[in-house]
Assembly symmetry: C2
Homo-oligomer: 511 residues x 2
């Protein structure tokens, strides 16, 4: 399988100076005085059922032992918690929450801490409940393909477990080597396989959740169809840990594909990409597993930063590139379909050039030009990253409009506020990533770019976060991204399930 470990490089960040406190970054956020502060007595109580190695208590949140648990993977958000607990069982999670609920102590659930919206680290002094030690694969049924796992099982670990059984996980992420199933479900992770296998709202069959007061909701089901009352698990998928802690996941896993084929094509416009995409849905239909695109500037950044010695797989310079992947059960059938499809694109002058990988090494090389984009731009300087979704025809217009807007203001270009503004993403999911280097970090650059891109997305009925979630990073935009009615209903649910508000505060729902 392809290794997609881009996010791992971010671990190096921890050698850099620690990020500023999130509360400094967002001065409007104030600690809610209703929450009790952790005392030695609290820790004493928790130690009655947690061993000493399952609890870190450091009054100085900058001390090495707890600093990395307070800080997110990208070193962008930092809290100041003095306490992190590592429960090993659902019962311990329940005991922790029961106690925190009684004392009204705020908590933040943490999985692999690979999120990019600051959702899995404290903002102030919330107790960190790190789920890494809940890492058992509980059960797998080879007939149905249903796996039941602890929340702390790492995505790649599950995939490796499934491989010899002929199954695979229905989602694939850059962070697969570190992210955990509980976190994936809590953030409703999308990833690279969504267009083929669908979202977690469809693939998760059941959840075990510890509710804010410590009650264990055993909603683990292995049934594909079950309409016995409200589908409670759905509440917790994508709730970013604000309604409870997911401790167990029942997941429907698909059969592992026997054949993977990849082609790269060059195109001259985003209109051509759309045409190619429509034809891919028509001709590759059930075997189409990814349809990714990137622009010429993305190639330039990858080449200059990470692939200086590599020859680009296609000759000449073209405005756009698209990578098309198929996954199927019979290699020769899939190859025929993909080849006929590429030929059709050439005949219709939709693709200007194209190449089909002939080996798994070539597959890796083609994917590398897509996958190395975020790493390359991060290497090139301070990187801004956006994750929006919208109707496919609009996807690249946002990139063009952003370029035009900041060029007119004389803010875009080498040595200016921004450089390397590029667009790439998952055409199949209507999901665009825009990245740029921010060259003047003391300017309003972040704020201005946020404002332009989020406003544009909202004006065009897009989403300000396709898959990364709200966390603390975008909570200040929720008032504009969601209607008063939507926000009110979200608050109604939050209050009904977590009346004391101890679960992951300051995230998702604005004040």
């Amino acid at each position: 399988m392809l290794q997609r470990r881009l996010l791992h490089t971010a671990k190096a960040c921890l050698n850099k100076p620690l990020a500023p406190f999130t509360s400094t970054k967002y001065p409007k956020l104030k600690r809610n005085p209703c929450y009790s502060k952790i005392t030695d007595k609290d820790v004493e109580h928790l130690r009655t059922f947690l061993t000493s190695s399952d609890l870190i208590y450091e009054k100085d949140p900058e001390s090495t032992a707890i600093a990395h648990l307070n800080t997110d993977w990208f070193n962008l958000y930092r809290g100041s918690s003095s306490l992190c607990v590592f429960p090993k069982t659902t019962k311990q999670v329940s005991q922790i929450l029961e106690y925190c609920h009684e004392r009204q102590i705020a908590v933040v659930p943490q999985g692999g801490n690979t999120g990019v919206s600051g959702g899995a680290v404290p903002v102030f002094d919330e107790v960190i409940i790190n789920l890494s030690k809940m890492d058992k694969i509980r059960h797998f049924d080879p007939i149905s393909g249903v796996a039941i796992v602890d929340c702390g099982v790492v995505l790649e670990q599950l995939d490796q477990f499934l491989e010899p059984k002929g199954y695979t996980v229905p989602l694939d992420l850059g962070a697969k080597g570190s992210c955990q199933l509980g976190g994936n479900v809590s953030t409703n992770a999308g990833g690279l396989r969504l267009m083929r296998y669908g979202s977690l709202h469809g693939n998760v069959l059941g959840l075990e959740v510890v509710l804010p007061d410590g009650t264990v909701l055993d909603n683990i089901s292995t049934l594909r169809k079950d309409n016995t009352g409200y589908d409670l698990k759905q509440l917790f998928i994508g709730a970013e840990g604000t309604l409870g802690i997911i401790t167990g996941v029942s997941l429907l896993t698909p059969k592992r594909p026997k054949a993977v084929n990849v082609a790269l094509i060059a195109l001259e416009s985003f209109e051509a990409i759309q045409k190619a995409f429509v034809l891919a849905k028509d001709h590759l239909t059930e075997i189409l597993s990814a349809f990714e695109f990137w622009d010429q500037d993305s190639v330039g950044v990858v080449k200059s930063q990470l692939m200086q010695k590599s020859k680009y797989p296609l000759e000449g310079k073209h405005a756009f590139y698209a990578l098309i992947e198929t996954q199927g059960s019979k290699r020769e059938h899939d190859e025929t379909k993909l080849l006929e499809y590429i030929q059709l694109l050439m005949e219709k002058d939709i693709a200007l050039d194209g190449v089909m990988a002939q080996s798994s090494d070539q597959i890796k090389t083609l994917w590398a030009w897509r996958e190395k984009i975020p790493e390359a731009i991060s290497k090139s300087g301070v990187a801004l990253t956006y994750d929006v979704s919208m109707d496919v025809p609009l996807l690249y217009k946002l990139v063009k409009d952003t370029k035009e807007y900041f060029s007119k203001k004389d803010m875009l270009g080498p040595g200016k506020v921004y450089s390397n503004l590029i667009g790439f993403g998952h055409v199949g999911d209507g999901n665009l990533h825009i990245m740029a280097n921010l060259n003047k970090t003391d300017s309003d650059g972040l704020k201005l770019m946020d404002e332009f891109i989020f406003s544009w997305a909202m004006k065009n009925k897009g989403s300000i976060t396709a898959e990364h979630g709200i966390g603390v990073a975008k909570v200040q935009y929720m008032h504009r991204a969601r209607s008063a009615t939507q926000l009110q209903l979200m608050r109604t649910i939050k209050r009904a399930i977590d009346p004391k508000g101890i679960m992951n505060p300051y995230k998702v729902l604005p004040e």
Copy 2:
């Protein structure tokens, strides 16, 4: 496309004597005195914004004009409402609910009224809000395949609209000619294509919902990925109209398959069916669209009631039959895969015999032997029907155990309490249907069979309703089918969203 209109035959039931009132059938159900009774003044108010043709008011609930709206399709449940309204717009639905909320008048939303659990008809005098006049297809995007429709659009109507555009609906039901999208979503309909296209929790992209107090929740999205706060639409999928009225649906539709192939095989045991199913997932993987099974007795009932003159497609008598359907984008590839698969089953002695349809007529014939089972047993006498799901290896054990249990009690066989006890269903979804004729309707036959089958399913971690829903039919089993914690959380949600309890009372959640 295959026509699956079994449920339509049930329309004839309305010529029979009207069903007993649901409140007579379930004497423990009492009208909640908190609800206001409809007065002439209420109707007068509703007439200020509804035309005379959009409202039926009959003080005698047995009068022809309103009796069929009070009665379910199968003539099993009957309410005594004097008022049915037919709003044409979301605004009218909002006005109706706002008024009913203020006056605390209970309501029941009604779509195509094809449900089989009594969820879409009143129990007492709830106002019927029939959505049939909200039947516009609002928008379709040929690039993404996303359709936005009014709740009252009939499933087949949408499929016919999509056909020339090369798309299809991701669910297929017997009732497709009458059931409506809003009702499909409200009951989380599963149907015949679930194993291929997944559940509505994955395929519904957005909903417009009128909340119990008349507030319109505009949550219509066309985005495949959107993690902007809680995924509110999920609350209403499968809530059976107890939390609000779905007025608009945004649905992701898949490409229409270019090739459909069907094979029928004979097997000697349910273990062989499981082996065949595992191999089908392995060899047909992405093109497998249905894996149905039935037993020898099912064939007997169909033959004697509806297909006397038809020759069964396979020679001899076998214990089990399985129908395997593929849907794909290239006929010759799919045929090769299916043929190789059938040959493999024969070589391994898993299948004893097999046939592959050579034309669309033959496809219809093979399906007919599966699809006519419910109709045949209904024709053969009063029919009991069950819809349970469980782990695949257990599916047929329930049928065997049921037969054994009632045989020992000397209650099963020609002229006894039950006859024609048969099992069939969707192996791919772990979904079993058990049906039987109840020959002595004045006995405890219904109650005893309910108790045996539901207890067995619950004991074996199965679901008492895979896809039909709870409605009023199974509400008395909810205490046993769901834990106290699950029920409490369901009630918490219900109270938070519908504090006056006006939405579809007496259904889903027990007192």
